[in-house]
Amino acid sequence: MSAIKFTEEHEWIRVEGDVGTVGITDFAQSQLGDVVFVELPAVGRQVTKGGDAAVVESVKAASEVYSPVTGEIVAVNEAIVDEPAKVNSEPMDGAWFFKVKLANPAELDAMMDEAGYAAFVDGQH
């Protein structure tokens, strides 16, 4: 079983073993609007919790995607570079951004679970 956690910056991270798969939430994609460009980190890059990791741009604006955790990028999803609209159509699964090998799994503890994030988003309206 995998656990999914959420950040206040509207990223999700699904952890299996010591690797977390990161994407942006359905709420985030709906706020961004039509995604037209994605820039992903290089495999092997070290990222830090809350630090810049990727860029997503809609017709309207550019946004940073932050890494929810500290660690090393071990894979990226080139499919969303080729087809950025997937970020809008399947944000929670097919349009994952990158996989990161967790340096400190305890960073996950303070993050919101699915119910907590749903409540957080409700509070944003």
Binding site: G33, D34, V36, F37, V55, E57, V59, K60, A61, A62
Partner: protein, 368 residues
């Protein structure tokens, strides 16, 4: 003004009903997009017809025996030469030839019908009143509704409600009954497509909007797509691509200076404009195409191939019809030639780009 502190257009309730995502723009609550999103709205406008609420813009009537000659003291356009029913794009300039606003002027017969930008309308009105208010009658109509119907199906749609507009050419305007309501209709717009702007008594704005939206070709379009459409069309956005720090010549708007006005002058900043026409400018507004897929947005620095700063992007984004990033901005004249390689510094990284002719998507205006 409402409890949100924002002004609302006569179509406000309709925007909410249609699911418009409302944002602040020039003090108004305006829809940036509807649920289908900017990309779909943009493409729909180029394929069929889009309806835009532009009621936040300022409508002003200027009348009096010498209204055209008097307005010419504030703008470089040939207004005296504007035949009844003809419309022209012009500029309000200051003494340094900076641009105070860009505007549309139509000779409506017994008055000039002027449309100015929302964010400038109160300053424009004060400027007009201070400079020419003793010689002409100036009537702001800021409460009226203004709808833009744009796209290749716009004419067919509007003819169902206003048969008289058939054959009306690009950049003309006339008083026309639309669905029985007395309106002033110009064939113009801000998308590069054929289309109309319909000035409507406030109380009939929503009714005509609903009537137009009931036509199968028409969808509501927000400010987001309005911006991407005008950018592809190479049209300036006031406050971004032109402002008081840019002159008409730097902006590449030489064509707005009427031939007679070039010789005669007689508007604020005319000497500066004449000098720049004769001797050139140190910078120019140009189209810019970033290579690849990444947009280069407003404020992005431009350098030459060696990395020396040569300019700045003033509008940039993704062009849905163009199918890639498009931008415009100011560059030093030595780097303004079509095809000149540049670099756009996006998030600290230089990315290849080049100067390119505008529009990025061909205009499709109706010229019978």
């Amino acid at each position: 003004m409402t409890t949100s502190g924002l002004h609302e257009t006569p179509l406000h309730a309709l925007h909410l009903e249609l699911g418009g995502r409302m944002v602040e723009f020039a003090g108004y609550a305006m829809p940036v997009q509807y649920p289908t999103g900017i990309l779909t709205e943009h493409q729909h406008t180029r394929a069929a017809a889009g309806l835009f609420d532009v009621s936040h813009m300022g409508q002003i009537r200027i009348s009096g025996p010498d209204a055209a000659a008097v307005l010419e003291t504030l703008v470089p356009g040939d207004i005296k030469g504007l035949a009844p029913g003809r419309q022209r794009y012009t500029l309000l300039t200051n003494e340094e030839a900076g641009i105070l606003d860009d505007l549309m002027v139509t000779n409506a017969g017994d008055h000039l019908f002027v449309v100015v930008n929302a964010g400038c309308k109160h300053d424009d009105l004060a400027h007009l009143q201070a400079r020419i208010g003793d010689r002409v009658t100036i009537e702001p109509q800021f409460d009226r509704a203004l709808l833009a119907l744009q796209g290749p199906a716009a004419a067919a749609v509007l003819q169902r409600l206003a048969p008289e507009i058939a054959g009306q050419g690009f950049m003309t305007g006339r008083a026309v009954a639309v669905d029985g309501v007395p309106c002033f209709v110009t064939r113009s717009g801000y998308t590069g497509e054929d289309g109309f702007e319909i000035a409507i008594p406030a109380e009939h704005g929503e009714g005509i909007a609903r009537r137009l939206l009931a036509e199968p070709e028409v969808k509501p379009i927000g400010l987001g797509a309005r911006d991407s459409l005008r950018l592809e069309a190479g049209l300036c956005l006031y406050g971004h691509d032109i402002d008081t720090t840019t002159t008409p010549i730097e902006a590449g708007l030489n064509w707005v200076i009427g031939k007679r006005r070039r010789a005669e002058g007689g508007y604020p900043g005319a000497a500066v404009v004449a000098d720049q026409i004769a001797n050139g400018t140190t910078r120019r507004r140009v189209g810019i195409l970033p290579e690849g897929r990444q947009p280069a947005r407003e404020g992005t620095s431009l350098t030459d191939a060696a990395g020396n700063p040569v300019g700045t992007i003033t509008s940039g984004g993704f062009g849905p019809s163009f199918g890639g990033p498009v931008a415009m901005g100011y560059v030093e004249t030595a780097h303004a030639g079509d095809g000149t390689p540049l670099q756009a510094v996006v998030r600290g990284q230089p990315r290849p780009a080049r100067v390119a002719p505008m529009p990025f998507v061909p205009h499709r205006y109706y010229r019978p």
